[in-house]
């Protein structure tokens, strides 16, 4: 796959490859047919694979999720698109009470190979319910796998891996990065749940995922001008978490800052900080710090920049970590 692809195009291509590879793969969602989805991620797929495999659904998220479960029970491999993060809640019961628990309820007799794609997080100047980061709800639910790519290569390969998984996968797409371009390699170089060190460093570890990886990379570049070498780990998978990679990095640097858009309180950062503290206690020079959204509903877009972690807030946390 030579050349630079946007994340949107890399995802589109991953869906196409998955549809080509397995006739049991079907896509379901609102406006994913002729329109190609509101973000055009499914652009052209209904034309090429037919209305039977790229299905425009009634406008009912629980219905989409529940019928996807039924299709999975019949041997299909549904890939569901939820139009925006804030619209997933009508489907929450079907995801949490049915999709996540079916395999355990059946003592392993049935599998739930369902992928739920959700454009998430903010920064696009949208109205309410279009900018939320709800990853912790899903990661908190045993039975779901939760992943989120930050670049075109991972977007492509992680989506293909998610679709091939026999377990349900919540696939969170950082919508404000949809148009960021990058090289998509010819093969997946990592397993679905591996973290990736995207920038090596020695003074502190920045841990991020999805849309915040770019912010952390920019922060690390800026810090280098001040002579600080920050390591950046792209978590990629939120359930399970690749603690092996995190532990190795944090033991080496002695400091860690977790960055996400979701509110800090009970967010992924809380879990990561607790576990890294347990695992790396004698190597830590400072408490694991967290940078994230505030404990408030996602704000109106004119003030969202104040809500979202940016380069300065990340570096401010790095300063605090280094000051210990």
């Amino acid at each position: 796959m030579a050349g630079q692809l946007s994340i949107a195009k890399a995802l589109n291509d991953a869906l196409r490859k998955s549809l080509e590879k397995d006739p049991k793969t079907v896509l379901m969602g609102e406006d994913i047919g002729k329109l190609g989805g509101v973000f055009r991620i499914t652009d052209g797929l209904q034309k090429d694979f037919g209305e039977d495999r790229v299905i425009d659904s009634p406008l009912a998220e629980s219905g989409i999720m529940g019928t996807a479960i039924g299709l999975a029970l019949r041997g299909y491999r549904p890939v569901v698109e939820i139009q925006f993060d804030g619209f997933v809640y009508p489907a929450f019961d079907q995801i949490v009470s049915q999709l996540a628990k079916m395999h355990a309820r059946a003592l392993g007799h049935v599998k739930m190979p369902v992928t739920v794609r959700i454009p998430y997080a903010g920064g696009i100047g949208a109205v309410e319910h279009h900018s939320e980061s709800h990853e912790a709800y899903f990661a908190h639910t045993a039975g779901l796998r939760v992943v989120t790519p930050s670049n075109a290569h991972d977007a492509h390969w992680m989506l293909r891996q998610a679709i091939e998984s026999d377990d349900p996968v919540i696939f969170l797409e950082p919508k404000r990065r949809y148009w960021d371009k990058g090289e998509v390699g010819a093969t997946a170089d990592l397993a679905l749940h591996d973290a990736r060190i995207v920038r090596p460093g020695t003074d502190a570890t920045l841990i991020a995922y999805g849309p915040m990886v770019k912010v952390c990379l920019e922060a690390a570049a800026a810090a280098e001008e001040d002579g600080r070498r920050l390591e950046v780990v792209d978590l990629r998978s939120l359930s399970p978490v690749d603690f092996t990679t995190l532990e190795e990095s944090v033991k080496r640097t002695g400091r860690a800052v977790v960055v996400h858009e979701a509110p800090v309180f009970l967010g992924m950062g809380a879990e990561l900080a607790a576990r890294l503290t347990e695992r790396c206690f004698y190597h830590l020079e400072a408490p694991v710090l967290r940078v994230g959204g505030y404990y408030a509903p996602y704000p109106p877009s004119r003030v969202e920049e104040a809500f979202l972690p940016d380069l300065d807030r990340v570096l401010d946390a790095v300063d605090r970590a280094l000051a210990y």
Partner: protein
């Protein structure tokens, strides 16, 4: 003039609703498809003809008796502390046996948690149903073995699974059909209404089988609906029919028709089986707090088993030997269930970790290892 009389005057002045727009079922009793009256008289219905051999009638009788016996045994086992809870089907045997026996082998049932009679018809081992009520699993049977899905406790959620499964049947080009079981309470759930929509627009071969047993725990059907439930179907664009849910023959005939309608590419059907929950919602419920004994007594006269027995006796289709044999078989079933439940072992606690995922998951694996080590530390201590 008082406020009350003003309100009355206003109401009087309101324009009359044209008959064609009238949505209430109070002025005319909806037709109830019935082939066997409570008195045991066989009647015909022009739309749902049914021919049955004496052997088939005897077989249905046997089903009804054994299902009731199984259910009664489970209730007793709960009272004895062997089960944590039981949801009795008492009174609904005909609705379940009639619809269950209408299914073909390739058809698929999506039950709530009360379809013990349907499970019986699908040849599911009754002991499989008891694991979740004993607390040794959450179901655990292989739904594809008998095409009987796992019990679903969240009200109405399974109607969407049934619809999705039916959509898959259409994609496969198969001529199977699905029954989605639910109750009068579930008819208020968004999921059920979404299932109606999806099934309708995709023409999915699914029969929505609503057992209107008049009560959703303590809430009567009037809390859920202002029109007879079967009429909801018309708003979604598919046929709805109300059947005497205590009439096993009518349930059989109507469901057979509905399944064939669905499998022939005509889309879904809603069947409202008008029946009655003779017992409590579950063994934890106390119906004396919210309904009158007179009501239950009145429904006793419509008992589904008694009317079939009357027919069999009146028409000379079964002799005393047959009834004695069914009773003996019923005793055997009770014994088997009793012994089966009592000898059902508690699972090893590592079951907690066994089926969370189908593929390895680092956190689950880690916590499992921690638990095993922790548990072993006690065993090691015992050796000292």
């Amino acid at each position: 003039m008082t406020v009350k009389s003003t309100a009355r005057a206003r109401k009087k002045a309101a324009p009359a609703v044209p008959d064609t727009l009238r949505a209430t079922g109070t002025d005319a009793q909806p037709e109830l498809v019935q082939l066997l009256t409570p008195e045991g008289e066989r009647v015909e219905h022009p739309d749902y003809p049914l021919t049955t051999t004496p052997e088939e009638l005897r077989s249905l009788y046997r089903d009804l008796v054994l299902v009731r016996r199984f259910d009664g045994e489970a209730t007793a086992l709960q009272r004895q502390g062997e089960l944590g809870l039981w949801a009795s089907l008492l009174g609904q045997e005909a609705a379940q046996v009639g619809s269950g026996r209408a299914m073909r082998t390739g058809d698929y049932a999506f039950p709530t948690y009360r379809e013990h009679g349907v499970a019986w018809c699908r040849d599911v081992d009754p002991l499989n149903l008891l694991g979740m009520f004993r607390g040794v699993n959450h179901g655990g049977w292989d739904p594809n073995e008998k095409n009987f899905h796992l019990y679903t406790i969240v009200i109405g959620a399974q109607t969407l699974h049934a619809t999705g499964y039916a959509m898959g049947i259409t994609k496969d080009g198969a001529d199977d059909a699905v029954i989605a079981y639910f109750g009068d309470g579930a008819s208020s759930q968004g999921d059920v209404n979404e299932a109606f929509t999806f099934a309708s627009v995709y023409n999915a071969p699914v029969v929505f089988f609503c057992q209107n047993n008049q009560w959703a725990i303590s809430e009567p059907t009037t809390t859920q609906t202002k029109i007879p439930l079967y009429r909801r179907a018309s708003g979604f664009g598919f046929p709805g029919v109300r059947v005497d849910g205590n009439d096993v023959l009518a349930c059989l005939a109507v469901t057979r028709w509905a399944l064939d309608h669905a499998r022939s590419g005509n889309g879904p059907v809603l069947i409202e089986a008008f029946t009655y929950r003779m017992g409590a919602h579950t063994t934890s419920d106390d119906p004396t707090r919210y309904r009158l004994a007179e009501e239950t007594e009145a429904w006793k006269a419509k008992d589904p088993i008694l009317r079939l027995r009357t027919l069999l006796e009146k028409e000379g289709l079964a002799d005393e030997e047959f009834f004695t044999a069914v009773d003996a078989e019923s005793e055997q079933l009770g014994l088997r269930v009793r012994e089966g439940v009592r000898s059902m072992p508690d699972p090893d606690p590592t079951l907690i970790f066994d089926h969370v995922y189908s593929e390895p998951h680092a956190l689950v694996d880690e916590e499992r290892a921690e638990y095993v080590e922790y548990a072993a530390s006690f065993e090691a201590g015992e050796n000292h």
